[in-house]
């Protein structure tokens, strides 16, 4: 009885830490981001208040007078500012007051302003929320892909390749079977994307199961093969007159409508330009499917058993090879569906540029979501907020939007590190409990 109680408590502790470690990782990433912003984003500008402060510090009025010419000008780096100040006030004064003037003129960007800009742009109104959903939708698919494979103990970093293969299949069906009505063409496109993505994901599964090749290497290689192959196909199906490397446009009947199309007639004010489309419902279905598959079906049970301990699973009569291929195929199918949002919901054509990186972001999403379907949704929303909100900081602050990529990378590192620390903590507690018992 007591042993069971302790086990229960341990489990609770584990879940608790499991929830906390991604949060800790996100917070840590924002701290690192803040440090980067504080250290590197600076400018030099002489404003009215700088002059007052300089006068208070004892800078003679004559010097301040000659500085007036530089008033209001912004300098991104110290040396350019120093040069102009030296020219304005003369070498002698510069030697005496130069460093003081530079110190007073220095303006740093407040990281909180930057973060505030990100979250405000993403969450302030329906338009922001809609775009966050639009950006989270493909990440849910690619994140689920990684999470599902991970439940089987497989690391599928081939989401990128499975996604573009599936995405091309969707576009190809969409611009080839133009005569079909929407109720046939849309499901056909979706199934096509899933099947092609699944086949592409099945290859590394097969190579792992039958030839013992580690899936990480094969999926990396297959990513690049897929990118090159779809680039070739794109050129083959490119409209003659177009100078952009994209395919023909898919049929009107294969295009998904934006949510504004349904929300506006209901009297809900929603901008027509907002990109969120009905693919978001497919993403929700995919999440439910993944959760149901893993927890409520025989297939899911077998996949998880193989992931937990392949030897034990084999002994219990579970076909490890079959489940390895199956898990990779389902995973690939999920990644293949990302094209539903990108092609059917957004560009209506295939173009590699609309996919670039979503497959890799899916890995981050899965790990931050601790490889559970619900976690994937939350992590995808976080990435959606960062991606959409990141567009705003270019406009409103001096911070380049690439800080978002840095934040994502740091989150990823801290998630795996804090996960490891959690594991060690649990082990220590387990040992203590055993010692006590």
């Amino acid at each position: 009885m007591t042993a069971k109680l302790k086990l229960d408590r341990l489990f609770e502790f584990k879940t608790l830490l499991g929830i906390f470690s991604p949060i800790v990782a996100v917070v840590m990433a924002f701290v690192v981001g803040a440090i980067i912003i504080l250290v590197f984003i600076k400018s030099f500008v002489l404003t009215e208040s700088t002059f007052i402060r300089l006068a208070e510090k004892g800078v003679p009025a004559a010097v301040l007078e000659s500085l007036q010419t530089l008033k209001g000008q912004e300098y991104p780096n110290r040396s350019a500012f120093g040069k102009d100040v030296r020219a304005a006030i003369g070498d002698q004064n510069y030697a005496q007051y130069g460093s003081l003037i530079k110190k007073q003129a220095l303006i740093r960007e407040n990281p909180l302003t930057v973060y505030n800009a990100i979250f405000t742009a993403a969450l302030k109104d329906r338009d922001g929320w809609g775009n966050v959903l639009y950006r989270a939708t493909p990440l849910i698919f690619t994140g689920l892909a990684v999470a599902l494979a991970f439940q089987c103990g497989l690391f599928n970093i081939g989401g990128e390749g499975q996604m573009v293969m599936g995405g091309f299949a969707i576009a190809w069906i969409g611009f080839t079977f133009v005569k079909l009505p929407a109720f046939l063409l849309i499901p056909l496109c979706i199934i096509g994307g899933a099947v092609v993505g699944g086949l592409w994901g099945g290859i590394p599964g097969y190579l792992k199961a039958r030839r013992g090749v580690h899936e990480v290497v094969t999926t990396i290689m297959l990513n690049w093969i897929a990118v090159a192959f779809t680039q070739y196909l794109t050129m083959a199906y490119k409209p003659e007159e177009s100078w952009i490397p994209h395919t023909f446009e898919i049929a009107k009947s294969a295009q998904l409508s934006r949510l504004a199309h349904y929300l506006n007639p209901l009297g809900i004010d929603f901008p027509k330009s907002n990109l969120v489309n009905t693919a978001v419902f497919l993403a929700i279905l995919a999440v439910i499917f993944a959760a149901y598959l893993l927890k409520r079906t025989k297939v899911g049970y077998e996949i998880r058993s193989v992931g937990f301990n392949p030897t034990a699973a084999e002994c219990a009569g579970i076909n490890v090879a079959k489940n390895t291929v199956l898990a990779m195929a389902i995973s690939g199918a999920m990644a293949g569906l990302a094209g539903v949002n990108q092609v059917m919901g957004y560009k209506h054509r295939f173009r590699y540029g609309i996919f670039g990186g979503l497959g890799f972001d899916g890995i981050g999403v899965a790990f931050i979501g601790r490889n559970s379907p619900l976690g994937v949704v939350l992590a995808a929303l976080l990435f959606g907020i960062l991606d959409h909100g990141g567009l705003a900081i270019d406009v409103s602050t001096k911070v380049p939007r690439e800080i978002i990529l840095v934040l994502k990378a740091v989150i990823l590192i801290f998630v795996v590190v804090s996960g490891e620390i959690t594991k060690r903590l649990i082990k220590i507690i387990q040992k203590r409990q055993e010692a006590n018992a």
């Binding site: 984003i41 580690h214 290497v217 290689m221 297959l222 680039q231 690439e402 990529l405």
Partner: protein
């Protein structure tokens, strides 16, 4: 004849980043740490090289800085994978994403654009002034000789020295190495940091010698071809160099091929060959035994 020479020369030029990154991967993976972050280390090296070259006026300082930047990322990879024993693939991926972000971040910040011309190139100081050598060194980047030297040196370091034996033993059977008093962690750190240095150098070559500028995402998957070279070369320096040259040859052949052969199919060759050697029954490539597994000292 001239065409053949031109193809040969450009094969070598294309091969250098593959060979250097592949060698980097070899050091890291021989010690038991997977490093898919080569791509990111290369990209960071490419940016650092141009930034430091433009700031100091010396391309050699740029090269040194690129090596240093690569080592720094290698150190981070080491801390995450060796000390914290976290997932090596995720850490490598994080390094790639980080590099893609931080290089463009600083490009905007320092230059307000994402394509930055390199102010100076690598020149061999004394030899360059001798007329007889001048032609040689202006036609062929000095990095080529450096790379050849590193390939040969790596062969001796990995297979003929005590350090190399320890490096390999840590990657094959860390427990056994540990019982013999070899510090597994230290060897792995060394392996990963060397891989960072070589990838950073590959990046410096790319921006200073190959393209003469840095541009957003200049590495463009070359780190992964380096990884493929390493696997195709079966984790040996000479093998890696041979594979890198082969892949470079494919790249060099592109402009001379008839139109019916799409260039994208040439792009696929390294990856297809890699999958093939990993899964074929004959001449199969087997990675170091303890690769990807963090070592926990009991």
């Amino acid at each position: 004849m001239e065409v053949i020479l031109a193809i040969m020369a450009s094969s070598i030029r294309f091969a250098i980043p593959y060979v250097l990154a592949g060698l980097g991967g070899t050091y890291s993976e021989r010690s038991g740490v997977v490093n898919i972050g080569l791509e990111g280390m290369m990209l960071t090296g490419a940016f650092t090289a141009v930034a430091v070259t433009n700031a100091t006026g010396s391309a050699w300082l740029g090269l040194l800085a690129a090596i240093f930047a690569g080592m720094l990322l290698g150190l981070i990879h080491g801390v995450v994978c060796v000390t914290f024993r976290a997932d090596q693939i995720v850490s490598g991926l994080a390094i790639i994403i980080f590099a893609a972000g931080i290089t463009v971040f600083f490009a905007w910040l320092l230059y307000n654009k994402t394509q930055i011309k390199a102010a100076s190139h690598l020149r061999v100081p004394l030899l360059h002034d001798i007329p007889a050598f001048k032609v040689l060194f202006s036609e062929i980047p000095p990095t080529i000789f450096l790379t050849a030297l590193i390939v040969i040196a790596s062969h001796f370091i990995i297979f003929k020295t005590v350090f190399g034996l320890r490096l390999r033993s840590v990657g094959e059977h860390p427990q056994a190495a540990d019982t013999l008093g070899i510090s597994v962690d230290r060897m792995r750190y060394t392996g990963v940091i060397i891989s960072g240095a070589l990838s950073g150098m590959a990046g410096a070559y790319l921006s200073l010698e190959h393209a003469h500028y840095f541009v957003k995402g200049i590495s463009a998957g070359r780190g992964f071809i380096g990884l493929a070279s390493m696997i195709f070369g079966k984790w040996t320096p000479f093998g890696t160099a041979g594979a890198g040259l082969l892949f470079g040859f494919g790249e060099a052949l592109k402009p001379y091929l008839p139109k019916i052969v799409p260039s994208q199919f040439i792009d696929m060759i390294p990856y297809v060959l890699t999958i093939f050697v990993l899964s074929s029954a004959v001449g199969r490539a087997t990675p170091p035994a303890a690769i990807g597994i963090p070592y926990i000292k009991e």
